[in-house]
């Protein structure tokens, strides 16, 4: 009961701040709402007993990536909205297309669930006291290939950024 109340409170806050992120007029305010949003997501992980993931969520997303967003926003002048958004009709068409795609996805998911109900999730791992060791074990055994692929992706992104920034290589 207590857990359900906590979950719905946190979920409502995540959605609420998510809406604020896209409706805020000022970009810096919108980034701050994003940080709060990420902190609530970390709260969701704590609720699930995954303290390690919760802390990593704060370190990587709230503390690392969003700071870089803030840098970009402060260094780039965003006072004037880009030209393409001024065209009313084009904006309308884009909005309608996006909503239709999302609606189609929702309908597809609902239909699929109706046709073949979920077989039930695999049993949750026994909740050990040592989250870190569990995550580490999983990453280096069952999920080794996705883990290595993700590191390759990051390396490619890093090399790409260097190539873009330095033309005289």
């Amino acid at each position: 009961m207590g857990q359900a109340i906590a979950f719905y409170t946190i979920a409502a806050c995540i959605l609420g701040f998510g809406v604020l992120v896209i409706t805020a007029k000022n970009t810096v305010h919108s980034i701050m709402f994003l940080v709060v949003n990420f902190l609530f997501v970390a709260g969701l992980y704590v609720l699930l007993g995954a303290q390690f993931l919760a802390v990593i969520q704060v370190v990587v997303y709230a503390g690392g990536i969003v700071v870089l967003y803030l840098f970009v926003v402060m260094l780039v002048n965003l006072k004037r909205p880009p030209e393409a958004h001024q065209d009313r009709r084009r904006r309308g068409r884009l909005g309608v297309t996006c909503s239709l795609v999302v609606l189609a996805e929702l309908v597809a998911i609902a239909a699929y669930k109706y046709v073949s109900p979920a077989a039930g999730l695999p049993p949750a791992l026994p909740m050990g006291p040592d989250n870190v060791a569990q995550v580490g074990m999983l990453l280096y055994t069952d999920y080794l290939i996705p883990f290595e692929l993700a590191s390759m992706l990051l390396l490619v992104a890093m090399v790409g950024a260097i190539v873009l920034a330095r033309r005289d290589l």
Partner: protein, 341 residues
Amino acid sequence: MIDLLVIPLIKIVIVLTGVLITVMYMVLLERKVQAWVQVRLGPMRVGPHGVLQPIADVLKLFVKEDITPVRADKVVFTLAPIIVLVPAIIAFAVIPFGDQVSIFGKPVPLHIADLNVGLLYIVAVASIGVYGIILGGWSSNSKYPLLGGLRASAQLISYEVAVTLTFVSVILASGSLSMVDIVTAQKANGVWFAFVQPLALFIYFVGALAETNRSPFDLPEAEQELVAGFHTEYSGMRFALFFLAEYANMIVVSAVATTLFFGGWLRPFPSVAFLHFLDVVPTWIWFVVKTFLVLYLFLWIRATLPRYRYDQLMRLGWKVLIPLAIANIIVTAAVKVALSD
């Protein structure tokens, strides 16, 4: 009920009061040490040898006029000092101040919480504090604070990487992320990690100086270039919050250095048998003494070294400290694997 609420609440009150009083007297100690290094007397007027100076300073800050610039973003301007101060203070939640003591026959551990991800919690909390500095600089809507805020955050992000990497080598040496377990691992090994991981200690200390914006890395508030950096437009109590956070952060990094590298609450030479008489000193006193020695080092360095240039700072962080820290992790892991066979 008592274990769940009352005891933690009492501990929180004691730690919070202790931290605030320490901050007040760190400011006085800093002025005194600077004065002695420069063959001056320092504050002498309020109380004998100026010991009541902090109280006078706090009173002054309370009654000072609180100014908000007209073109500032009011909400963010008010929030920024709070965003800086709160992480600095909640980081104390995982720091173990001493071994378990028994009060009225009840065993009470001298820490507020022993998280199994304690060290990462400190990293996470510290990474949130950066926002207060950037937002404080941005919301003032003034040139110098913006430049100071950008400098401060670039510096913090750069050195956070090196500091976090040194944590990894300590975690490898201790086998745990819990602050309490890291201290007990040093007891079990019979040696402080300062001797096992001297390179990590050096990188951590340099990184800590940079993360707390202390000299020789105090570029974000270089008064000759930027007036006072990100808090130029702040006055009165709001300025005091920034000031408080800066010193609270210094205490946090010193306490973390004590826990990770200097054996936390352990007495010196924890494994030497004929020094057992040192055990009469309560464990938390060892912790406080060690933390103060590290803090003193901060003051000493400020009085000794000139300020770095900004490009030198970035080069030191990215091209020297981070590669060294990574190399240290590789060597530590290799040694650990070799020893375990």
